[in-house]
């Protein structure tokens, strides 16, 4: 990180967090399956994923949620500051079988200042031409 960590005094309603573009590849899905224990077949088999009506292999929603948290944790510098984090899964993230993967664009904005140095951050996560993949994504973080 190049910027100074935010403080309760410096964070204002409307403060934008540094944008993050995270790339998810098929290899990332394999890594996440192993790390989380989520071996659901739609996250690694093109054959099964298309058979159940998906566009192809899709990312674990919880991987997208974990990656999206980074826009907040990179900003505050320590994930221990995250007291609450919630999302709604609004669209699948299809991950192509190529060397490029898919980019998820993550943005955050301080939406509300709360007591005791905490702030509520609204997070957006989009793919492609702006398809929202997480909606109502919110984190409450504790600042100094």
């Amino acid at each position: 990180m190049t910027s100074a960590p935010p403080t309760a005094a410096s964070a204002e309603v409307g403060t934008q967090l540094p944008e993050l573009v995270a790339t998810i590849t098929r290899l990332d899905l394999i890594k996440y399956a192993g790390a989380s224990g989520d071996y659901n077949v739609i996250h690694w088999s093109q054959r099964i994923a298309t058979a159940v009506g998906l566009p192809g292999v899709i990312a674990h929603g919880m991987l997208t949620m974990a990656v999206a948290a980074r826009v907040v944790t990179d900003w505050v510098g320590d994930s221990a500051r995250v007291e609450h984090y919630s999302v709604r899964f609004s669209a699948p993230v299809p991950v192509p079988d190529d060397d490029r993967g898919i980019d998820v664009t993550l943005r955050g904005v301080v939406e509300e200042k709360l007591p005791d140095g905490r702030v509520r951050v609204a997070i957006t996560a989009t793919i492609g031409e702006g398809t929202t993949v997480l909606s109502a994504a919110t984190a409450i973080v504790r600042l100094d």
Binding site: Y32, A35, D38, A69, T73, S79, A80, V82, E83, S86
Partner: protein
């Protein structure tokens, strides 16, 4: 999708304790941080974690979701009394409320409770709360999942 049988709403409040504790290892935290692309040293380097005020490396916020895969049973999803058709289930929402970070060396216990079963149009929503506690019985985090059961809401009698 054709309509399916509704879930058994009498199971509201039923609890599903994990059959064993979950030991949080440093390498597992490192593996998880690597998988989600998080390079923060508080997830990798004990010295950096201690410098940040933690007793050891800490896990990223959503790490705890993996406990459910470690202990797939007992679970509302596999409880025949509840009657979930797993092929209809979609993960709708997820929330984490942390009392403290998960630290390498923690020995965690987990109890999942059914806190909601309600209709949403043709679908039903199953809400579960998973309470995670540490080796001293103190709360670590609460995970709230909203699962959508597609097409299982009780149907009006055909007119």
């Amino acid at each position: 999708m054709e309509a399916g049988d509704p879930m058994n709403k009498a199971l509201l409040g039923k609890q599903y304790p994990a059959p064993d504790t979950f030991e949080v290892g440093r390498e597992h935290i490192r593996q998880f941080a690597e998988a989600i692309g998080d390079t923060n040293p508080v997830h990798r380097d004990p010295a950096a974690a201690r410098a940040a005020g933690h007793p050891d490396i800490i896990a990223p916020p959503t790490f705890l979701h993996g406990l459910g895969f470690r202990f797939p049973e007992p679970s509302p999803l596999t409880d025949p009394e509840l009657g979930v058709d797993f092929s209809r289930i979609v993960h709708g929402e997820q929330a984490f409320d942390a009392h403290r970070p998960v630290v390498a060396g923690d020995v965690l216990s987990m109890v999942t409770t059914i806190t909601g079963i309600r209709d949403a149009g043709k679908n039903e929503l199953l809400v579960t709360e998973t309470a995670i506690t540490d080796q001293d019985g103190k709360p670590v985090a609460t995970l709230t999942a909203t699962l959508v059961s597609r097409g299982t809401a009780a149907q009006e009698a055909a007119s």
